[in-house]
């Protein structure tokens, strides 16, 4: 994977640039010691590393604005960083870039239960948003598996999803407003405290999911909801992936809309079970289906789901019988990546496919696994077709990473071929940047680049991501 050559004019002025930033930001850490910079040389896509020029950790929106204005004047590339949990390399720096991290901006600014929103600085973690409102019975719906660590800033940049978005939608569906600092240091309020606030073109919808390329979001107003009275998962085990896939489709068609339908295959089930001891059955494919409501409502919905599942001869159908069991079931699922990480190096993919293509795609992945000689564990959000195949490889074996990346690219191309997309919730970052041409035509891509031209005409913000480098080269070189 290629990154642009760092700009020599920036590198040779490192001392002046950091001095100017320090002088303008007396209350803000500006890190330039090479040993300290190691912590920022990659995000959760650890295969690629590069220390940045320096790292700034502002505490306020105006400090972000001051830092960006200086970088703008000095023509220094900027890489925004939330909590650094991106699996796509969204926060991977280049040697000539300044990282602006929002980790210190982690205050809750306002909660309004009557109007059902919370206003936060974007360095807060996803889970702490729910933590701030749960005593009043509320929660913030998007729940990426990394929710303990990941920041709202990154959630907005990548339009993060999670297991429960089948019912509640992803970040963009739960975002009401943002304070965003433009590359030239201008502070802009977009949206507000109610849906589609302000009128005009939907700029908020464009900011969300723009991978830190249009501005740095420092504050966000998020929709909160009252928690359901209760929720209960059920485990349904099958002897084949195909049958499990058919069961998912039947549940959705029947008009029951669970809050989550998660799917794991045998390698993943075994790893999660060893890690979380959730009591998962040892089957070929496992569905976790969760429904919400009062006790009676839950029983009724689970009854309907059981009727549907039984038509597919499940190897196992097990309702959670206690809150502890439910928590263990979810802990197992949400630990899937960590559990796999304990037994092997892996690469996590994130393609989405039409739900109807599940059986075909799973079969093709298993055939390709044979061809490449690399094992794959599958875990994904089956209700919405968002797949997370984990390709296992040996990082210490020469050539294995490249083989794994090639295999991963083939899986993502397959996702596009059957009518899906390259990334459902992790973002393009650097990881899938060069695959964009498989999903989008040159015109489609050019149209997106023109949007960046409006927000960041100098192409300084996270500019080496999302789009193939050759398609953005002339724009990046202009400054």
């Amino acid at each position: 994977m290629q990154m642009p050559q760092p700009d020599g004019r920036v590198l040779e002025r490192k001392a002046q640039i950091t001095a100017r930033l320090r002088a303008a930001l007396p209350n803000c850490p500006v890190i330039s010691d090479p040993r300290e910079l190691h912590a920022y040389e990659c995000d959760a896509l650890t295969a690629y590393k590069c220390p940045p020029l320096c790292v700034i950790l502002p505490g306020t929106t105006s400090e972000v604005a001051i830092a960006l204005k200086i970088c703008f004047d000095e023509n220094v590339p900027v890489v925004p960083r939330g909590a650094g949990t991106s699996l796509a390399g969204g926060a991977l720096p280049t040697a000539d870039s300044v990282i602006i991290g929002v980790a210190r901006m982690n205050r809750v600014l306002e909660t309004d239960y009557a109007n059902r929103f919370i206003k936060v600085q974007t360095g807060v973690t996803n889970l702490s948003v729910t933590g701030a409102v749960q005593e009043e019975g509320f929660f913030y719906a998007p729940d990426p598996s990394s929710q303990l660590a990941c920041a709202i800033a990154g959630n907005i940049a990548m339009n993060s999803g999670g297991a429960h978005c089948l019912k509640y939608g992803v970040t963009t569906n739960n975002l009401l407003g943002v304070t965003v600092v433009m590359m030239n240091g201008e502070v802009v309020e977009i949206g507000g405290e109610y849906p589609d606030a302000g009128g005009g073109l939907n700029l908020l919808g464009v900011i969300c999911g723009s991978e830190g390329q249009l501005g740095i979001v420092t504050e966000a107003t998020l929709r909160i909801l009252h928690s359901p009275e209760g929720a209960r998962p059920v485990l349904i085990g099958f002897d084949s992936n195909e049958v499990a896939g058919a069961c998912v489709s039947d549940i959705i068609r029947a008009g029951v809309l669970p809050v989550a339908i998660e799917f794991m295959d045998r390698p993943c089930i075994r790893a999660c079970e060893a890690f979380a001891k959730a009591g998962y059955p040892d089957v070929e494919a496992l569905l976790i289906v969760e429904v919400e409501g009062s006790e009676d409502e839950i029983s009724h919905q689970l009854g309907l789901i059981k009727d549907i599942a039984m038509k597919h001869n499940p190897a196992e159908f097990r309702e959670s019988t206690s809150a502890e069991e439910s928590a263990a079931i979810w802990l197992g699922r949400k630990s899937a990546f960590g559990a796999m990480g304990q037994i092997n190096d892996y690469m996590c993919l994130d393609g989405t496919i039409p739900v109807s293509e599940l059986p075909f795609v799973l079969r093709r992945i298993s055939e390709m696994s044979q061809e490449y000689g690399l094992d794959v564990a599958n875990v994904f959000h089956a209700g919405d077709g968002n797949m997370h195949p984990l390709i296992l490889f040996d990082a210490n074996k020469p050539g294995d990473l490249e083989l794994c990346e090639e295999f991963g690219a083939d899986i993502l191309k397959l996702c596009v071929e059957v009518g899906g997309c390259l990334t459902g919730e992790h973002g393009v970052g650097v990881e899938k940047r060069d695959l964009m041409t498989h999903q989008y035509s040159d015109t489609d891509i050019e149209t997106q680049l023109r949007v960046k031209d409006v927000f960041d005409p100098k192409w300084l913000l996270n500019a080496a991501k999302v789009f193939p480098l050759d398609s953005t080269q002339s724009r990046r070189m202009q400054s």
Partner: protein
């Protein structure tokens, strides 16, 4: 002009000077230029009930889509409004028009707007280039989300040829809960209480001077249970269920309250708890407070500019019919600049819907 396919649409746009984009003509928006009608870009090309997905030409009539979905007991959950009664127009609502105006009805409060259900678009920009964004799957963060940008862009960025939408199952039944004799302020408090409960309210409306209404949907037993819980919580009583309830919400959705009105009609959006304050400041002839207070439909005397009376409040107002002021909410300079920048990129010759959206 009435292109029969996307290629013809692109050719027309390449050769055009000024175009007024029209779907079913239900809005009757007047702006300069030759009419470009999208009605022939019609037809459902993909419907997968098990994947909750529908793809159709932008000119496809809403009724055709609803009939098709109903066969599989599904629907467009964002509940697009038919504007004919309100505006006295006869045309038929099309999918493209719904997307272009980000049209959504009372269920928007719980389920989101058209934009929240829009999975993908194909459109022709002002250069005559065919562009696609998004796709037909529910989770897609590949590249910028121009799908959201196109929703509500009122034909100022491109002419849509195809849209892809998320659909949802129809619930088994629904019920309307009602309470009368409340002031807007009292009503808003009741609606907020219900919306902040776990009982999944999918409609929350106050007819000013009339009833305060809640809707719940789902399985029969669940609806009964939640009706009881909501009555205990905020005093609203179960009024009707099933088809009777559906009839009430169809009328509310299509703003039948204002049918035949000769006055100006405004749509105001604001923080729900600010709804009563806005109503108190305005001399309204008739008003409906939807979305728990967050979307207020107003009938005003001809030529009244409601914006002048809402100083100091954060809101946006759209003039749906009449002459009382700029049709779209004027934007703060920094946002106006970004929007003008986008418009110049998508439509560099400024040929689409001149005069709309500033």
């Amino acid at each position: 002009m009435r292109p029969a396919n996307e290629t013809e649409l692109a050719e027309i746009i390449r050769g055009a000077d000024q175009l007024r984009i029209e779907g079913g003509g239900t809005r009757g928006l007047a702006c300069a230029g030759e009419v470009l009608c999208t009605k022939a870009l019609s037809g459902v090309t993909l419907y997968e009930p098990g994947a909750l997905t529908l793809v159709a030409g932008a000119g496809t009539p809403l009724s055709e889509v609803e009939d098709l979905l109903a066969k599989d007991n599904q629907r467009l959950a964002f509940e697009p409004r038919r504007m004919n009664a309100l505006l006295g127009t006869t045309g038929e609502t099309t999918l493209g028009g719904i997307v272009a105006t980000n049209n959504a009805g009372p269920r928007r409060i719980s389920t989101g707007s058209c934009a929240d259900h829009l999975l993908g678009v194909r459109f022709v920009d002002g250069r005559g280039d065919i562009v696609k964004n998004g796709g037909r799957v529910m989770k897609n963060v590949t590249g910028y989300d121009l799908v959201k940008l196109m929703a509500g862009s009122h034909g100022t960025l491109g002419v849509m040829s195809e849209v892809s939408l998320k659909v949802l199952p129809k619930p088994e039944t629904e019920a309307t809960l009602a309470m009368s004799g409340l002031s807007p302020k009292q009503a808003q408090a009741v609606l907020a209480q219900a919306l902040s409960s776990p009982f999944e309210v999918t409609g929350a409306i106050h007819n000013v001077g009339g009833e305060t209404l809640l809707r719940i949907e789902g399985f029969e037993d669940s609806v009964t249970y939640r009706a009881g819980q909501l009555q205990a919580l905020c005093g609203v009583e179960l009024s009707v269920r099933g088809d009777d309830s559906r009839g009430i919400w169809e009328n509310l959705r299509d703003l039948k309250e204002f049918e035949g009105s000769k006055h100006d009609i405004w749509r105001l959006r604001l923080k729900p708890s600010d709804g009563p304050e806005a109503l108190a400041r305005l001399d309204v002839i008739n008003a409906v407070m939807d979305h728990g207070g967050g979307e207020v439909w107003l009938e005003q005397s001809v030529g009244t500019d409601v914006r002048a009376q809402l100083n100091g409040m954060f809101y946006d107002a759209q003039l749906i019919r009449g002459e009382g002021g700029p049709r779209f909410q004027p934007q703060p300079p920094v946002l106006a600049k970004l929007q003008a920048g986008l418009r110049a990129q998508f439509d560099p010759r400024n040929i689409f819907n001149q005069g709309l959206m500033g």
